[in-house]
Symmetry: D2
Subunit: 275 residues, 4 copies
């Protein structure tokens, strides 16, 4: 029997950096949570504890802050710049994965901003390897809801079936979506807005016979509007809104009162690809 | 020695009710998390387990759903209606506290809506007793940030002081605010918007010498704009943004790169009152 | 109209201090999350931003770390020591509230320990005022479950009732408990263990006709075993375990298969007092 | 341009089932959170909304409850039984992934149990395909800490380095581990205990020159003690405990007082394999 080291990586996770742009009285802020993961020739530190090929995670954090000094045009560009640095400056590092969560603030004045604590945010992942970045961008925790135009009928019935068909239901989900770019000559901030709009509009405009159908429509729409995107992955929990039975109280309930359930929930996962 | 029952209450917490208004093709949705707590003549169930004065929490949940059928004009009105019902219909119940968290959705079409999963929300508390409601309204998890116009100097220096005075810092907090109404003849939805705007504008317009000073300004502004409010309570964590020392990397940092820390944090709590 | 400052306090929340005792090869660790809140003559900082009576929260954090150097016999003693310092050394501070969450580690060797990330923990609150500490101790997030010996029958039936009486149900709750001491000449660590055991044993030994009855029994038992305790406050969510209807699948279900629900839940709150 | 459906799956997530064994007065409880994900011939529901090959997630939930009626010997066996059912009974389903989180309760009597709300738990994943289960077992949220016998020195120094070498530090991590079985003729409950013990003992017994070295030792030990395991994947956040500088207060700090930081943190990920 032999025991061997398999794939591995390490880095500093969740460095919370806020960059203020104060070139004029009208400040801007960029608010990121940056995670770095490096891979390469790292057998020694695992097998003998020799760290001469290890760039400390503390140094990675310092690098994030130092690079932020130069300005952050977009999360994608910042991630690529960090990835290029780590792979280019360290012989032992072949691949750098930089994951950046970005929180959007709403302006209320020259230097005043607000946002919800939690809620929807953007996530960009840049994998830097062989001298070039591979970019995936996505969003998290965006709830969308259609109060009608959703059915679920015609499914398999077996001995464990108790569900009644629904011809008019609420369809609600928390969108986790990631779209992969086949190139990097992209206006990142514009592309993000376009993808987000495409997801919401496809959700809105699909008369849904299943959440799977809606998922496919959402992914396809992102591919349609962004020519540089070749793949969209979606994870859509079916956040069930159950129509409450009000008959015991001598009340009807024509699609008016719903119970929003937590668990269990349906979970629909799928990828839509450009071929 | 005697052992006795002190104050007590019970109820159904966190009934998640979504009410759709479909009077026309343009639907509306009201999304609430409703908690009920009842108090009164409840010694028996504690001391002997006799439940003949106990309205089950399951029934309270049913009541929330049944009352939602009639429509929900505002969280405040809905809470008052529930409180009146529980105290009015049950001889054993003297006081009903109804707490309602409300989540706001953004419209994207006739029946399509979105919101962040998590983040800022409204919270209304209605205490119904002696035939009348007592209403407190508030908000939770609203982050606000000023990127300048904040100082902290002139404080006590003792043997444990290491903090350097700051003459230009980021001031950021997650607002928890509750404002109490001295009457109930109020346009609730309009009042909420006015209070929220007052909080943000007071935060924005205060050149801050301490977060306490900003807290007072925020509370005072709500009282100024809402004549029916007699008390505002605020809980403001000082969400520290530390200027990163970039000197080791031969970079200056004139208020540009900050580390957003999690814990520990300052916590400022205070009440502002109309006299 | 006049606007005035009401009650207020401020301090450093959630300083995470770990104290290692290394007097011998067999180390000990004390793991605390310490929050300080100070109250006193603080009008100036609210009204004018003058901070000359403000001990910075940063200094409070430093003090927590410096005092930990001397050793931490118990959370209660450490909180009292800090409270005495803040009120004794600062003329402007009348009252110091020190809240300490304590995480318990399991030993696996001379210097190796484990614990769950999250889960049950102790919480002590020391209010130091007028030269003496007032101590409340409690626990959080302890789940307890009886798989039988629980009923719920004989309750009020009204027009919104659909619940069927239960003569044998699962009773489960997440215990939040706080017991207040009328004196401070206490072996704190021993008292904590005794109170925790009392809560679990009373839960176990009560044939329950309502969760209220169980709550009272739990509070009473703590008062019985700890002569220095004069008040116990309990918050007990009724974590519903619903018997699943298996009849559609031609199976019986004599108390075997349950669905553990999240929301809504019953919430029972009460205080038991020594008179 | 063509747009196509890529890999996809769907199912019911987080069905919370509690199974009581009441064959004697001494009850047992099994507490699971079960997620099912099915894959197969599912193009139609994505492309046209035709659901005739879709087994509803509601039915999957019902099946979990119905199968629990027969008893749950282990999470692994229960997952395999469900996977066999879904793939065997539905022509359209080729692969079923059943993920089971298991919560362990401590006994306090014949029918009384406790556990922390949150904290460490087991996770088993069974992928059922081609008529056989593929089993991976793991644990989550187990914190382990060594208060000495950990160094970090000899690392790369570059222009962004500020970290000082540490020759005696606290090493703490929250273990996420998964070990894959090459066969299924296993005493699952016994194997879990052995793996958990191996992880803790390897953490304890490794004088650590890097967390990577400790990770490798932990994985190797699981492979050593369990002959049916061929792969162990570990994700270990380096939960930094920073020695507090007490010099400004004229105190030394020989490894006694630490600040337990939240973010950022190191994150070490690696796989150890039997060859």
């Amino acid at each position: 029997m032999a025991i061997e080291l398999g794939s591995n990586r390490y880095g500093k996770a969740e460095t919370r950096v806020v960059r203020v742009v104060r070139d004029s009285e009208r400040h801007e802020i960029v608010d990121l949570n940056v995670s770095v993961a490096l891979a390469g020739d790292l057998d020694d530190t695992h097998l003998t504890g020799a760290n001469d090929k290890v760039l400390p995670t503390d140094t990675q954090k310092n690098t994030v802050f130092a690079f932020a000094r130069d300005g952050i045009e977009s999360a994608e560009e910042f991630g690529a710049r960090l990835g290029e640095h780590f792979t280019g400056s360290q012989e032992s590092i072949d691949r750098a994965t930089v994951t950046l969560q970005e929180y959007t603030w709403t302006r209320h004045g020259d230097h005043t901003f607000s946002r919800g604590d939690g809620g929807e945010h953007k996530q960009a992942t840049v994998v830097y390897e062989n001298g070039r970045p591979d970019v995936t961008v996505g969003l998290r925790d965006l709830l969308v809801l259609n109060s009608t135009d959703s059915e679920f009928t015609g499914y398999i019935v077996d001995e464990y079936t108790t569900l009644a068909p629904a011809t008019d239901r609420i369809l609600a989900t928390a969108v986790t979506a990631d779209w992969h770019f086949s190139e990097t000559d992209v206006d990142w901030n514009k592309a993000y807005t376009a993808a987000r709009t495409a997801l919401i509009e496809a959700f809105r405009d699909t008369y849904s016979l299943s959440l799977q159908q809606t998922l496919y429509a959402m992914g396809a729409k992102v591919i349609e509007v962004l020519p540089q995107v070749d793949r969209v992955t979606l994870t859509l929990p079916n956040k069930h809104h159950f129509l409450v039975d009000l008959e015991p109280f001598e009340l009807d309930n024509p699609g008016l009162v719903f119970f929003a359930a937590d668990r269990p929930y349906g979970l629909i996962e799928g990828t839509v690809e450009r071929r």
